[in-house]
Symmetry: C2
Subunit: 326 residues, 2 copies
């Protein structure tokens, strides 16, 4: 029986998203189940396998037509064996997740960090358009990243590749990062950081746009920018300047074709992208910025399951037209 | 006739180095010829081809036993076709160098930037020890870099991958870089930058170690450090702090196994590596620094020809034991 389909699984702290895709990227079906994080998340894998079994039955899909499962989870994960060094939100540590899922589901499994998997999704069917090298940035509660070079995600020596939220942008900063250090990009450009900056501005200016909002969030700052508020303009300039510098410095190393910005903050669209492009142009080597486009991610919450399916595709297909060793 | 040898060619502003290596990395022969840069360097390729022809004759090596030629040159170069976008020192611009050499020598040709090729050399037979991912830094007149990920050099979208000398480390710095911008790593950590810092210190302190030296160079600063001179200590601390920050920020993206420091400044050995490691540890994410070793390059001037040969090896061998898609 010919194998022609892939399973993508995106394990988050609240839900597990799943999907079946065909080799052209057509989504045959997608669904989700709750993530049970109790008891160190030790029922998650059997929950996933059981739900997959039921759904394949309902869809009348023969398991032998599946190439395998691609899984994304938050944390540090080795790609080939799907070994999870640590996934704090889920409760896993030193867990042979790939092997467990392979046993439970009877399918081959590959895995990676959720941000890396989302990057693969955008690379396949989203804003990345199959380019050989790209950087995907997720601006949410934290700052995540996934880097693709020579058509492959950089998983790294111990699964820490693409952790661009922990680029030090402000040495000596007083702002503590969850990683145990200070001055990380995450403490300057995440939704959390933007909210903090809004509160700091509130204290300084009693008449600005922000003064009327009780607990201002990142979206309020972009709303204020729309209304031409000076405080909000300065916050966005500061955030995009630091993000633009970090991305320009990464781009001179990677020389990517594309930078894709996703996550909650990216809903600001052009209000974020325009000042970000200005900062990037200022700090990037001319040859590097000439070929590097910056745009908003296109797949939203589906990036993870699509990327999971694409990971399986890249691992099981040796050659594709127009792209070596995809 | 079985193909079992590779040619490495390293084109510099003064000499062209060449070598024949076998598949185990044994250097069968190495030699060099002057680089004739007159008339936009348009005789270089025929000089190389002619010298190669003569030398192979002398060595009684049948051309049919050669897999091809791997060439390094300073500038922006596309790897697959060996197309040179620009190589300022040599005088080339928009030059189909790979095709020209292929015609002249009757062999397959691959090419890359000299720093990328040197990184490949160190990766094969030097301090890189065949690791899957590493960063090679060249601290000389400028700052060059080569990044290897998943066993391949990052050539980039337009041959600008690994240009880490143009990471912006001091936004707003008054120090002009040859790239047309300010505050690049090259203006802070090259031999040229160290000499500039030494002159600045001389003007401030008439009694220090540096005051007796007419035109202090990088090596004088390390000599002064050996003699416990405070000015020299501060210069080395400043240089290694900025280099350590840039490398830590790169390492959190790449998650490499190894960082290898080469070029003239690397002759300082432990005097450079120790403070560099201290800075790197300060700025790098714990998981990243745990697996990343920093050491001095081992191949000296042979890195280029060895890397050229290795480029051919990686392009002509599909699989090797212990390393996929090398």
């Amino acid at each position: 029986m010919e194998k022609d389909k892939y399973i993508g699984v995106d394990i988050g702290g609240t839900t597990v998203k799943m999907a079946v895709l065909d080799r052209d990227g057509e989504m045959i079906h997608k669904w989700e189940i709750p993530t049970v994080t109790e008891e160190s998340g030790n029922s998650i894998i059997s929950d996933v396998a059981l739900s997959l079994e039921h759904t394949l039955d309902e869809l009348k899909i023969d398991k032998r037509t599946l190439h395998g499962i691609g899984v994304g989870a938050p944390g540090f994960i080795e790609q080939e064996e799907g070994y999870v060094y640590e996934a704090i939100n889920i409760g896993w540590k030193d867990f042979g997740m790939g092997e467990a899922l392979k046993q439970a589901a009877g399918l081959q499994v590959w895995a990676d960090n959720d941000a890396n998997i989302a990057a693969l999704g955008e690379n396949w069917l989203g804003a990345g358009h199959n380019c050989a090298s790209m950087v995907a940035v997720t601006l949410g509660t934290g700052v995540g990243g996934g880097i693709i070079v020579n058509h492959k995600v950089i998983n790294g020596t111990n699964g820490t590749g693409g952790e661009i939220g922990h680029i030090t942008v402000k040495p000596g900063s007083p702002h503590y990062c969850n990683c145990g250090r200070y001055g990380c990009l995450e403490t300057e450009a995440s939704a959390t950081a933007i909210a903090r900056k809004a509160k700091e501005r509130q204290l300084k200016n009693e008449n600005g746009f922000l003064s009327s909002i009780k607990n201002p969030e990142a979206k309020d700052v972009f709303e204020g920018l729309k209304q031409d508020d000076e405080d909000c303009r300065l916050i966005v300039k500061d955030v995009t300047d630091q993000l633009g510098l970090a991305l320009a410095n990464l781009a001179v190393s990677i020389n990517p074709e594309k930078i894709v910005i996703g996550g909650g903050v990216s809903k600001a669209g052009e209000q974020l992208i325009e000042p970000l492009k200005t900062a990037f142009r200022k700090y990037a080597l001319p040859r590097v910025r000439e070929v590097c486009d910056i745009s908003i991610a296109e797949l939203g919450n589906d990036a993870g399951v699509i990327g999971g399916a694409f990971l399986v595709k890249t691992k099981t297909e040796n050659k594709q037209t127009g792209a070596q060793e995809r």
